[in-house]
C-alpha cells in the first residue's frame, strides 16, 4: 500500500484558500494534506484547529533561509518554495506527493492521479490538450507559451531518483529568481516545468479534462453541473482552479483576463458561487488583514521592492547565515558613508 500526501503553500493572508483546498480534498481523499506556511505564524493562528497539517519554512532544510525569504516578495516566496516543499514531504517517506496550488477546489476523488504517480516519476497537467477552438486561438497559444506549457497548479512527484534530481534542478532555478518577466522568459516557477518532459524520462502528461480546469481552458471544457456533480467534457471534474480569482470582484473569473466574466462561463458559475461561499465561511475577510511576516525589517520599516532586488543581485556574495531583516536604514547610511558615498553602496 503506497503512502500519498498532498500539499499546498500559502502565506497567512491566504490561509482561507488553503482551508478550502484542504477541506475539499479531504472530503474525497483519505490522504494527509499539508500546508506550508510561506510566512511566520506570529501567534496569529492555531494549528490544532486547522483542517491541514502545518509545515514551517524552517522544516524545508533551505540553507540560506533568511536571504531566501528576503529576496522574494510574498507571492514569489510561496511559488519558489514549491520544489522545496514537495521534496521535504518525499523525504518524510511518502511514495508520492501531489502539489495543489492555492486557489484550488477539489470536487472528486483524485485516485486516478495517484495511480499515475505510482507508475511515473513526474505527473504534469498541460494547459491545453488540443489547439483551442476559439477566435483568439493563436493569441491564446502564445499566452500559454509565454506562461509555460504545463500548469504549475497540479504537479505530482514520486519518490524516485529521477524526481529528486528534477526537484533539485528546479530548486536551483527558482531559489534566487522566481519572477514574472515574460519578455525574458521567466514566469515564476512555472516556465521551468517546460523542461520536465525532456529531462525526466518517466514523466506523464495527464490528459484528463476533469483535472485542472482553470480560466485558460474553462470555455473548452464545457462544465456541467447536475445534482451537485460537476463534469468537464462529460467526465467528472476533479480539480477546479481559481487562478487569479478575486472574491472582492466575484463577477470576474480571473484578474489575468479582463474580458472573461463568470456569466460567460455558463454552468460553471455555480462552481464559482460555491467557491465564493466556502472562502467567506473560511474567514477570507478577516484573514486579509493579517500581516505578512517578511514585509518589514525587524525595526518595523517596510522592505522596498528595490531593496529585495538589490539584495538578490548580490548573488553568491550573500552568506547562508546572513540575516538581512536585521538591517536598518542607519546600517545602509553607515555603509554608504564608509564607501565614500559611492552610489552602488547598498
Amino acid at each position: 500500500m503506497s503512502r500519498w500526501a498532498a500539499i499546498t503553500i500559502v502565506s497567512k493572508r491566504h490561509l482561507p484558500l488553503a482551508r478550502v483546498t484542504a477541506q475539499s480534498f479531504r472530503e474525497h481523499n483519505p490522504v494527509p494534506f499539508y500546508t506550508l506556511l510561506a510566512d511566520d505564524e506570529q501567534g496569529r493562528l492555531d494549528p490544532t484547529r486547522e483542517p491541514f497539517a502545518l509545515l514551517h519554512m524552517e522544516e524545508l532544510g533551505i540553507a540560506a533561509l533568511k536571504p531566501f525569504q528576503f529576496w522574494h516578495t510574498e507571492l514569489e516566496l510561496s511559488y519558489a518554495s514549491t520544489p522545496f516543499a514537495i521534496q521535504c514531504l518525499l523525504r518524510r517517506g511518502y511514495d508520492g506527493v501531489l502539489f495543489l496550488k492555492q486557489e484550488t477546489l477539489v470536487l472528486d476523488d483524485l485516485s486516478p492521479v495517484f495511480t499515475k504517480l505510482a507508475e511515473h516519476a513526474v505527473v504534469l497537467t498541460p494547459h491545453l490538450l488540443r489547439p483551442p477552438n476559439r477566435p483568439d486561438a493563436l493569441q491564446h497559444e502564445v499566452r500559454v507559451l509565454r506562461a509555460g506549457v504545463y500548469n504549475g497548479g497540479v504537479v505530482g512527484f514520486a519518490d524516485c531518483e529521477e524526481a529528486h534530481w528534477f526537484l533539485e534542478w528546479w530548486q536551483a532555478k527558482v531559489f534566487r529568481r522566481c519572477v514574472r518577466q515574460v519578455k525574458r522568459g521567466y514566469h515564476f516557477e512555472q516556465r521551468w516545468l517546460d523542461f520536465a518532459p525532456s529531462l525526466v524520462a518517466r514523466h506523464h502528461l495527464l490528459r484528463d479534462p476533469g483535472v485542472n480546469v482553470g480560466h485558460w481552458n474553462l470555455l473548452e471544457r464545457h462544465i456541467r453541473v447536475a445534482n451537485n456533480r460537476v463534469t468537464a467534457l462529460g467526465v467528472p471534474c476533479r480539480v477546479f482552479r481559481f487562478s487569479g480569482y478575486q472574491p472582492e470582484r466575484p463577477e470576474m473569473v480571473t484578474k489575468y483576463n479582463r474580458h472573461l466574466t463568470v456569466a460567460d462561463t455558463g454552468e460553471a458559475a455555480a462552481v464559482f458561487a460555491r467557491y465564493h461561499a466556502l472562502l467567506m465561511s473560511a474567514g477570507y475577510t478577516e484573514a486579509r488583514k493579517l500581516p505578512y511576516a517578511y514585509e518589514t525589517y525587524r525595526s518595523g520599516a517596510t522592505i522596498s521592492e528595490r531593496a529585495r532586488r538589490a539584495y538578490q543581485r548580490q548573488g553568491d556574495a550573500v552568506s547562508n547565515d546572513d540575516n538581512p531583516f536585521e538591517r536598518t536604514s542607519f546600517d545602509r547610511f553607515r555603509r554608504w558613508f564608509k564607501m565614500g558615498g559611492h552610489p552602488k553602496a547598498r
Binding site: L128, R130, P131, R146, V149, V182, G185, F195, S198, L199
Partner: protein, 311 residues
C-alpha cells in the same frame, strides 16, 4: 519511411553532403529535397540524382503571399510543415525531416524504429546533466527559443500527427518570426506545444541524435576506430547549426567566439565537414540569389500583407 529537407540555393552544397552521408547508411530510403531556387539550379541538382521538389509542387494555396511576406530564411522554415504535410498526404507511413546543415555519421536505424512507432518524435536540446555555468546560460536562452530542436522532426502517418502538421503550417503561415520577447522563435517555439497537442509524442533520449553547439559542455565528441562517439554512445547525426566552413575554427555563430579546439568536439569532425562542404561547391553557391527578393529593400514594410504580419 522517407526523408526530406528544405533549402534555398545557397545550401545546395550542404544538402549534397547531407544526402551523401544519409545514403551511405540508408541507401534504400528516398530523400526528398525541397529546393526554393531558380529553375536551372533545380534542374542541375535533380540531374545529380537527388529527388528535387519545387515549392509550387507542394499544393500550398498561399505560396505567393508567403514568398512576398517572408525573407529567404522565413520561407524555408515555413515550408517545413508543408513538405511534411505533402509527404504524409501522399501516403508515406513515416517521414523524417533533417535540417540541411546536418551530417549523418552512423546508422539511424534505432531512431527510425522510434519514428515508425510514435506519432511524433522530437529531439530535445538538453539531456539530464550536471549543472554548470554555460548550461544555465543555455537553459535560460532555451526558455525563449524552444525546448526541442526543430532541426529534426520524425512523424508517423496518424490522424493526430496530420492534424498537428496542419496546425503548425497554419501558425507558420502568419507567425513565423523571430520575436523572442513576445514568444516567437520561427518554427521552434511552436514545437513546445507539441507534447500537449499530440498524445503520442516521443522524446528521443539518444544523446547521439542531433548534437549541436547547445550540447556543450555536457558532451564531448571523440573519434575512435569505429567512428565518432558522444559521451560513450555513437554519434548518429551532428547539427552544424551556425557553422561557417570559411571560418572552420569557430564552432558556430551562435556560440560567440568559441573555437573548435577549445570545445569538447572532435576537431576532425569540423575539419572533415568543412572540407566536404568546400568540395561540394560552398564558395560557388554562397552568394546564390533568392529569386523572390522584393524589388527594393523596404518593400515588405509597405505592402499590405506585411502590415498584417506586424504586431
Amino acid at each position: 519511411m522517407i526523408a526530406c529537407t528544405v533549402i534555398s540555393a545557397n545550401y545546395v552544397p550542404a544538402v549534397r553532403v547531407l544526402v551523401a552521408s544519409f545514403r551511405r547508411f540508408h541507401p534504400a530510403i528516398p530523400f526528398y529535397v525541397v529546393l526554393a531556387a531558380e529553375e536551372h539550379i533545380c534542374q542541375a541538382v535533380a540531374a545529380e540524382g537527388i529527388k528535387v521538389l519545387r515549392p509550387d509542387e507542394m499544393e500550398i494555396p498561399t505560396l505567393p503571399a508567403l514568398l512576398e511576406r517572408y525573407t529567404c530564411l522565413q520561407t524555408i522554415i515555413a515550408l517545413k510543415p508543408a513538405i511534411l504535410r505533402y509527404l504524409l498526404a501522399r501516403g508515406h507511413d513515416s517521414v523524417i525531416y533533417l535540417d540541411a546543415d546536418i551530417l549523418v555519421t552512423a546508422s539511424l536505424a534505432p531512431l527510425l524504429e522510434q519514428v515508425a512507432s510514435h506519432s511524433l518524435c522530437l529531439t530535445p536540446h538538453l539531456h539530464p546533466a550536471p549543472r554548470s555555468a554555460r548550461r544555465e546560460k543555455i537553459e535560460r536562452s532555451l526558455l525563449l527559443t524552444g525546448i526541442y530542436n526543430a532541426g529534426f522532426i520524425g512523424i508517423a502517418n496518424h490522424e493526430e500527427s496530420r492534424r498537428f502538421v496542419a496546425w503548425w503550417e497554419e501558425r507558420l503561415r502568419t507567425h513565423n518570426r523571430r520575436d523572442k520577447k513576445h514568444g516567437y522563435h520561427y518554427d521552434q517555439r511552436w514545437l513546445d506545444l507539441a507534447p500537449s497537442f499530440v498524445r503520442d509524442t516521443h522524446i528521443v533520449r539518444d544523446q547521439g541524435c542531433n548534437v549541436g553547439q547547445w550540447c556543450l559542455p555536457d558532451v564531448t565528441v571523440t573519434r575512435d576506430g569505429s567512428g565518432y562517439r558522444v559521451n560513450d554512445v555513437p554519434l548518429r547525426f551532428f547539427h552544424f547549426s551556425g557553422f561557417d566552413p570559411l571560418q572552420p575554427e569557430k564552432v558556430s555563430r551562435h556560440a560567440g567566439r568559441l573555437k573548435v579546439s577549445e570545445s569538447g568536439f572532435a576537431p576532425e569532425l569540423f575539419a572533415d565537414y568543412a572540407q566536404l562542404l568546400r568540395s561540394a561547391g560552398w564558395e560557388q553557391y554562397i552568394n546564390a540569389p533568392w529569386p523572390w527578393d522584393p524589388p527594393w529593400p523596404w518593400h515588405r514594410w509597405f505592402t499590405k500583407s506585411a502590415s498584417q504580419n506586424r504586431r
